[in-house]
């Protein structure tokens, strides 16, 4: 097991190197110079080439691209993610502040997705071809196709403006004001959870149906076991392997969704930071944010792989 983890971590390290290369160079392929974004229109009209070069030097943008990359990696090894070109804040500090907000909403969304998606999928599979199955399948199909930003706007209008049950936007830490935090989190979490819930529902239904056709399940029925016991003991654990894989992949979807959800619900998380960094071509911000998202996704995938062993003892980490 330890050997497997070490191997996976080494593998993850190389993937990360690849990711850093992609993030770094793709950002620089984009047209436009970040220094121009730093200047106001009025300043851009008056700044001399000499001053412009001095500014570039200040941010290390005067050096060849490969040197800039090496400097960035060197900084990362010292825990320094760089400084925002636009607002001169430490990228590391900003990520430290924002990551928990995105993680808080993302985690809640994942929990809800699993808590709703798995039971709904099992019900749908065990009540196959009934009205309940049709209903769950229809909801799942809708959930998987609906655009998150549109859903966010609809939720705001229904729950924030029409019913006036929930705040329209904003974020409060649960440690500062738990109830307000909860009220503010409901709509973004529902938005973030919609697509993963639908995906998990569909995956659970399909893998449960497959397990239900297995001989050992038929044997369990023949033994006279009751349905809940059959589902819990014989079906669920075996049906969960593809579902857990999907949950692992959902971490990526949740981070992707946070980009939209944080913009619509005005949440100062890592998703919004990434969007604004891209729009203003703030290289260090985008690089730092995407790197952290990549690390989180890689770790989530590692956890998923490790969970296979618990779900199916036949899986060996050799």
């Amino acid at each position: 097991m330890t050997g497997y983890i070490v191997r996976r971590l080494i593998q993850a390290f190389f993937i990360l190197i690849l990711v850093t290369l992609l993030i770094f160079f793709i950002m620089r392929i984009l047209p436009g110079d970040p220094i121009y974004m730093y200047l106001t229109m009025m300043e851009a009209q008056r700044i001399s080439e000499k001053d412009l070069m001095a500014l570039k030097k200040q941010f290390g943008l005067d050096k060849p691209m490969i040197i800039q990359y090496v400097n960035w990696i060197r900084g990362l090894t010292h825990g320094d993610m760089g400084t925002s070109i636009l607002n001169r804040d430490s990228v590391g500090k900003e990520i430290k502040k924002r990551l928990p907000r995105t993680a808080y909403l993302g985690l809640l969304a994942l929990i809800i997705s699993a808590a709703v998606g798995i039971p709904a999928g099992i019900i749908s599979a065990t009540r196959r071809a009934t009205w309940l199955d049709n209903l769950v399948t229809t909801i799942a199909n809708c959930g998987i196709t609906v655009p998150i930003f549109w859903l966010g706007i609809v939720f705001i209008y229904i729950f924030g403006l029409y019913l006036k049950w929930l705040p329209v936007q904003g974020y409060t830490s649960p440690f500062d004001n738990f109830w307000l935090s909860l009220k503010q989190a409901i709509l973004p979490v529902l938005c973030l959870a919609t697509m993963p819930t639908a995906g998990i529902m569909r995956q659970t239904r399909s893998s449960t149906l497959e397990v239900l056709r297995q001989d050992y399940v038929r044997t369990a029925w023949a033994k006279g076991l009751r349905e809940p016991a059959i589902i819990r003991v014989h079906v669920l654990k075996n049906a969960l392997i593809p579902v857990v894989t999907l949950i692992g992949l959902t971490v990526r979807v949740v981070f992707g969704g946070s980009v939209l959800v944080e913009t619509v619900f005005n949440i100062p998380g890592i998703g919004r930071m990434t969007v604004e960094g891209i729009l203003s071509q703030d290289y260090p911000v985008v690089q730092g944010a995407l790197l952290i998202i990549s690390i989180t996704v890689l770790l989530a995938n590692l956890l998923v792989d490790l969970s296979y062993g618990w779900l199916d003892p036949r899986v060996k980490y050799e």
Partner: protein, 531 residues
Amino acid sequence: MDKKMKGGLMIKKAFFKGPFLILAVLLILFGAFTLDSKEATKKKEVEQTPGEIQKGGVLKIIYKQGPATPIGWPPETVGDSLIPGTPAFETLLRKYYEGRYEPLLSEGWKIGPDKRSITFYLRKGVKFHDGSDFDAEVVKFNLEQLKASKFYTSELWSSIDIVDSHTVRINLSAYSNAILTNLTSQRAAMASLSAYRKRGLDFMRWNPIGTGPFEFVSFERDVSVKYKRFSAYWQKERPYVEGVEYVFIKDPMTQLASMEAKEAHVLLTDEKKVAFDLKAKGFSVSSYPAGVVVIMPDSANASSPFSDRRVREAIEYAIDREAIVKAKGYGFSEASYQVVPSVSNVFIKGLGRKYNPEKARALLSSAGYKKGIKTKLIYGTMWVDRDEVVMIQNFLKQVGIEVDLELATPGQSVEYRRKGWNGLYCAAVVYFPIHPIQGIEAYIGPRTIEFPSLKRPKDMQAVFDDALSTREFEPRTGQQIVKLIFDDVMVVPLFTSPTFAIATKNVHDAGFHTHSSQRVNWTPERAWLAK
């Protein structure tokens, strides 16, 4: 009249003559230093009726984005970042759109007779939020920081002298009537020297300590900037609200929903659709032109068809600006035929080339482009939207100008502005209501190093220099520049781009769109909220 009476009158005349002369001399002497400021402030501020004013409440203002550059160090604060600093800071003076100046931290000022100096007489008894005094040393320090930051027209300040504890003189190498106007900018606001010495620049950058009506409480990036009432504010009784909070919401739909949900009192936006929707729902909408959207041809490029004035003129006649404004202006934009909006004091009534496709075709034909022209139109989304440029494309197509549209990212837009472009470039000439000519000069004047593809009319700089050199800005000189640009068809004006302050009905005297920069300045000390 008998002799006695005459004698009496003569005695009286002689009696009054001496003191009258002394009084006259005193008046002249006293008047000398306030003459300029008195002249400039002949219209008094509209008095608020104390009986109506209600105290209390926290005024919440939504703006699209939080500050990127420091909010607490005015010389480094630029663009959108200026907005959330306004409650904490004050300038030496204000300038209202109608041309009136208002003394703020200075009680008066005097422009030297040779126009080689401007002397400011500072208000006494003003305190900074940290308890330190506002005096000449503070002003000199702040102005020197401003000069070091290459503030517009500060290159004309040769030195700054402290005359006495509450008098400061800026000595000038040359005069421009934009100097005084520029000192009304939020960037020329006064920050505490004492706090700077004690805490250093890094602290000051994100902790605004000024003399303004509100004290800084907190700043959270992309979330909010909060202020509380400054109890030792120099304008007694003011401010009326207990605090001001800027909330940063990027998405226009969320801004709109947040206003509808009464989560804030004011929304500062450039979104016409949002303003239209909120107006329909009973919100007060104050709008002002932030600029005139124009098409800039690559006229400096000798091989370009647009180097021919007739082709540029043809574009003007080809585009039905009234139709664009009717379709996309939501009642807030106006069709533009000059580089300034019609509210400007340099706007020339009746001047413009109205929609006339026949004339456009004839001009193209006479310029040798009978078969038409193929070119591209580069645009960013800051000033125009896709629908508007598609309409422009269609109008141009009708006269034989085939245009490919190119959407430029913000970074690309700046590069085009800086390095030049081929074809047509859609941008805006920003409108500065307090000094319209300075705005034009700053954006498209011959001295700017931007828009190199744009050919400037001959002698344009000389006309600018004349307009800026008069003691007070004279609209007549500004009109000469507007006419020069029009005659040369230097740019093709399209329509005005408005900026909005949308407020709930209980917000009073906030003073948005009344003075200095339309996107930034307001009167936080006078604002109050009806219960």
